[in-house]
């Protein structure tokens, strides 16, 4: 059976060019960046070259890039690091209700340490209102953290506007750009961003590398203490192969991004148009302002896990915000934050496209999906209409 991967928001395959760039850094150029000998210096050079390439993609200075192991680590470092370094200025932190769990849980942990956390709601499209942020910022607010592109519903938040407000109010602004880097342009200066998280494996790089951009002058405490790598902000032996791969992925993204975004948006719109022909199908997230590769739907009267497994049995890999697919047995907090009812959140389907998605893949999905939904509704007590 032909297999079609439409879950690029979960992770992406490593681009063969990336794998090739990494290859010599395992057994040949294996040095530790902290070593003074030639092996170490070779690794150090690769690290600093990678830092330049990665910085270039977001218009940052290389010295403003800290490499970490994952977006989860970067987000933990951003929230906890800023909170710890700035607690003398205030204890209030603002996040949105649709953040990734690693931001939500970091904020929850900070709450336990005595910080005051406000979770800003979103509209029915999952959009955060900059006005709302403005109203919520208090005297003792030290950090605002808002996701750039939603990992679930694809909505792109008004980051530049929110950043401007934070700048005016003298509050630090962090954005989780794990889903958006390499897909849509990011300029940390124009968008008034103080801290930014991005991840390698969401953009055809390997797992195990991510970054935290920290604007020059922003005070932040490390959460990993040790040998003082990454300018003391992230002690750990540096994962050179992964970082070299991440840099290569950024280099490729810089070249391919604009063309690829147009191509994917066209396929995405074809998919959305086709799926919405199915009775009882709804689009989740913003109809226009969304990541070029993300489509998210809800289907009345059926449950997402059943849908995902049926699609998988037909060779198509997608994901769902249904409770039954999660370890917690609760539907997606993102869908619920948009005001969606539980039963509709249970019937959600996320389709995320990528570099190797072809029009024929979308056509195949559009062919099998109505049949699968019909079959599941036949079994459902609610599906008879």
């Amino acid at each position: 059976m032909k297999k079609i991967y439409l879950d690029y928001a979960a992770t992406t395959p490593v681009d063969p060019l990336v794998a090739k760039a990494m290859a010599s850094y395992f057994s040949e150029k294996f040095g530790n960046t902290m070593s003074l000998h030639s092996f170490g210096q070779e690794a150090k050079m690769a690290l600093e070259e990678s830092r330049e390439i990665v910085a270039d993609l977001i218009f940052a200075k290389p010295s403003e890039i800290t490499f970490t192991s994952s977006a989860t680590e970067s987000n933990n470092l951003a929230l906890k690091g800023v909170a710890m370094a700035n607690k003398h200025l205030g204890k209030h932190i603002i996040i949105s209700a649709i953040e990734h769990p690693c931001v939500l849980e970091s904020a929850n942990w900070l709450k336990k340490q005595g910080f005051d956390v406000t979770k800003i709601g979103v509209d029915k499209y999952g959009m955060v209102s900059p006005e709302n942020i403005k109203k919520t910022i208090k005297e003792d607010t030290i950090l605002v953290s808002i996701i750039h592109g939603s990992n679930e519903i694809g909505t792109i938040e008004p980051i530049a506007e929110i950043g401007k407000i934070c700048r005016e109010k003298g509050v630090l602004f962090h954005t989780d750009a794990s889903q958006s880097l390499g897909k849509i342009p990011i300029d940390v200066n124009k968008m008034n961003i103080d801290l930014l998280t991005a991840s390698s494996h969401k953009m055809y790089g390997p797992k195990g590398a991510a970054l935290l951009f920290v604007k020059e002058g922003v005070k932040i405490e490390p959460i990993l203490h040790g040998g003082g790598q990454e300018n003391g902000l992230r002690s750990s032996t540096v994962n050179i192969p992964a970082i070299v791969g991440f840099a290569k992925a950024c280099e490729i993204a810089k070249k391919e991004m604009s063309g690829e975004a147009k191509r994917l948006a066209k396929l995405r719109d074809k998919l959305i148009k086709g799926v919405l022909k199915i009775q009882g199908a709804h689009l989740n997230g913003h109809p226009k302002i969304r990541l070029p590769n993300n489509a998210n739907f809800s289907f009345d009267f059926i449950e997402g896990e059943s849908l995902i497994i049926q699609l998988d049995l037909h060779g198509v890999a997608c994901s769902t915000g249904s409770a039954c697919s999660s370890a917690k047995l609760e539907p997606s907090h993102v869908l619920l934050a948009t005001g969606m009812k539980h039963e509709q959140a249970h019937g959600s389907l996320r389709v995320s496209l990528g570099k190797w998605t072809k029009e024929s893949d979308i056509n195949y999905l559009l062919k099998i999906l109505p049949k699968i939904i019909k079959q599941l509704r036949k079994i459902s007590p609610y599906g008879k209409k």
Binding site: I302, E303, I309, C324, H342, E343, I379
Partner: protein, 166 residues
């Protein structure tokens, strides 16, 4: 536990086969008993219909059984499995079926999905309760208790589904 090499890897082959080709789904018109249960935590809803007749020994037995389920793979396969397990059984025998019987018949279920097998036996108990009550027949104490519990859970669920857009 035998694993299937797909993203359905958490389920046994038997669960996936049952999910792909569920038995006895749909409604029974003029059913003798209907059991409607829902598990609010997972969002699974299961309706079970039974048709009862007398066997040669003049005992009540389940002549036909059908289900309708809104739920995950585990909910759909446990629904199908319970219909297979009770079809042709006397009421007495049917009430002896446990969640473990269902889980075993499916070759196992992930722990987090065990509640789906509970849902299936609850649906059956409710359908039998409904039949006994309609026909003013004596209801065993244990069944009465199970009914009370299911009723409580249904109350919570109905509140949630009241505003359902249909």
């Amino acid at each position: 536990m035998e694993k299937n090499n797909t993203c359905a890897g958490i389920y046994t082959k038997k669960v996936i086969e049952t999910f792909k080709n569920p038995h006895n789904y749909g409604k029974i018109k003029n059913a003798d008993g209907i059991g409607k249960v829902g598990n609010i935590v997972c969002g699974d809803v299961m309706w079970l219909y039974i048709k009862v007749a007398k066997n040669k020994k003049k005992e009540d037995f389940i002549k036909d059984v059908k289900f309708e389920t809104f739920g995950c793979v585990a909910a759909i396969s446990t629904s199908s499995m319970i219909t297979d397990l009770v079809k042709g059984k006397t009421i007495k025998e049917a009430l002896k079926i446990t969640k473990d019987n269902i889980v075993e018949s499916l070759g196992g279920l992930p722990k987090i999905k065990y509640h789906c097998s509970v849902l299936a036996i609850d649906a059956l108990a409710e359908a039998i309760f409904d039949y006994l009550k309609k026909n003013k027949m004596p209801i065993p104490k244990e069944l009465e208790d199970r009914h009370k519990k299911a009723k409580r859970e249904r109350g919570i669920l109905e509140k949630r589904y009241k505003n359902r857009a249909e």
